[in-house]
């Protein structure tokens, strides 16, 4: 089975503010406010370059953000499901 391809709204549709290690995000299309903990904001940043699979997102994040996991793609896939449930990413 092919890996799911995820997409997110472009960065200009989001307002983000850092507060104490958390990212407060205002999602303009829905008008909803979200609290995000790492690596969720970094995943959204990685998706700004276009749709990607969990493995591709892990590669894009690369050295800029180190994920403490033996299987970064699996860790990112778990966060992607949460972001999908929150309406911030979707599968294409």
């Amino acid at each position: 089975m092919a890996a799911s391809l995820y997409a997110a709204d472009p960065p200009e549709t989001l307002r983000t503010v850092e507060l104490e290690g958390l990212t407060l995000l205002y999602h303009r299309p829905s008008g909803l406010t979200h609290f995000l903990a790492p690596p969720a904001p970094q995943i959204l940043e990685a998706l700004a370059a276009g749709p990607a699979t969990a493995a591709e997102i892990a590669a894009r994040m690369g050295e800029a953000f180190e994920i403490e996991s033996e299987d970064p793609a699996a860790a990112i896939a778990a966060r992607l499901s949460e972001l999908e449930a929150a309406g911030l990413v979707w599968r294409t």
């Binding site: 307002r15 503010v17 507060l19 104490e20 958390l22 407060l24 205002y26 303009r28 008008g31 406010t33 609290f35």
Partner: protein, 286 residues
């Protein structure tokens, strides 16, 4: 409407109409000395009979106006003053778009404001009213109005709604400033207190907020101060705001700036003396 009162409270104006004389007369007495608005009013509140015959027969007051809650229960005419107050709150909560509305009390000293917010029963009204009689300027006990552009707090010094046990704390007050005792209301026994002349005279003067306080009252609580992080303060204030969602991005920007710039503290107290001491301590450090 047969009986009408026009009322300016801080930057907001109300037109309150009633089919009965009583509630408007009580409001007029309670708000003696408040300015009359110039021009059209921002909000209209109407106190009407639920059904036309209920104007005379066991009169019951339905709260209507620009904004209504369809399932709001009517109140007996004896609680008409409370109905008018609830009507003004409702218009603000549902219709105010010029400010971020925080369900909070606020007081000012030296041009700097202290905001106190918390659940019902946390004591913010009582504390705000007490501080307002002890060297602070009372700005409001129900809603604090956060300016969306410059982050200042605007006063909204409506009559203080004293509830149940807190009534006794204001026994020595000038009786002319107190409304009738309303018993058996949905919130227990209530008595309104007109803010003092300074609060009324300075109702158009905003102040720069410098401290956010989350008071918690409990007879068994030990006095305590706890730091509240900006993210937690943000979350609690979105819950304390009636129009955060409606304001969209402007509300997000105003509130993130607000909590990012100010320290937040939670205090526990078992009596008002303790609360005042904790507020003094935090204010000296702010």
């Amino acid at each position: 409407m047969r009986h009408i009162l026009r009322l300016q409270v801080g930057p907001v104006s109300f037109r309150i109409g009633s089919q009965w004389r009583g509630p408007v007369e009580q409001l007029r007495r309670l708000y003696a000395g408040y300015p009359e608005p110039e021009g059209l009013c921002d909000f209209t509140v109407r106190l009407e009979a639920e059904r036309f015959w209920r104007r005379w027969l066991r009169p019951s007051v339905a709260i209507r106006g620009d904004y209504v809650l369809p399932d709001a229960a009517p109140l007996p005419l004896a609680q008409g003053l409370l109905a008018a107050e609830m009507g003004m709150n409702l218009q603000m909560a549902l219709g105010q778009k010029r400010f971020l509305l925080l369900h909070a009390a606020s007081v000012e000293k030296g041009g700097r404001a202290l905001l106190m917010t918390g659940h019902s029963g946390a004591g913010k009204s009582t504390l705000g009213a007490l501080l307002g009689e002890r060297g602070w300027r009372f700005m409001g006990d129900e809603f604090a109005l956060l300016d969306l552009d410059d982050g200042r707090l605007h006063p909204f010094p409506r009559a203080v709604s004293l509830k149940n046990e807190s009534l006794g704390l204001f026994d020595g007050m000038d009786p002319a400033r107190l409304g009738p005792v309303l018993t058996g209301t949905p919130k227990g026994t209530i008595r309104h207190l007109r803010p003092n002349p300074e609060a009324v005279a300075r109702m158009t003067e905003p102040a720069r907020p410098v401290l956010i306080l989350f008071p918690r009252f409990g007879r068994d609580l030990e006095p305590a101060i706890r730091e509240v992080g900006a993210a937690e303060a943000f979350m609690r204030l979105t819950q304390a705001s009636t129009n955060y969602v409606a304001l969209g991005e402007r509300g997000f920007d105003a509130l993130t700036r607000f909590v990012g710039a100010l320290p937040s503290r939670a205090i526990d107290y078992a009596d008002t003396g303790q609360a005042e001491a904790l507020v003094d301590e935090l204010w000296r450090a702010a």
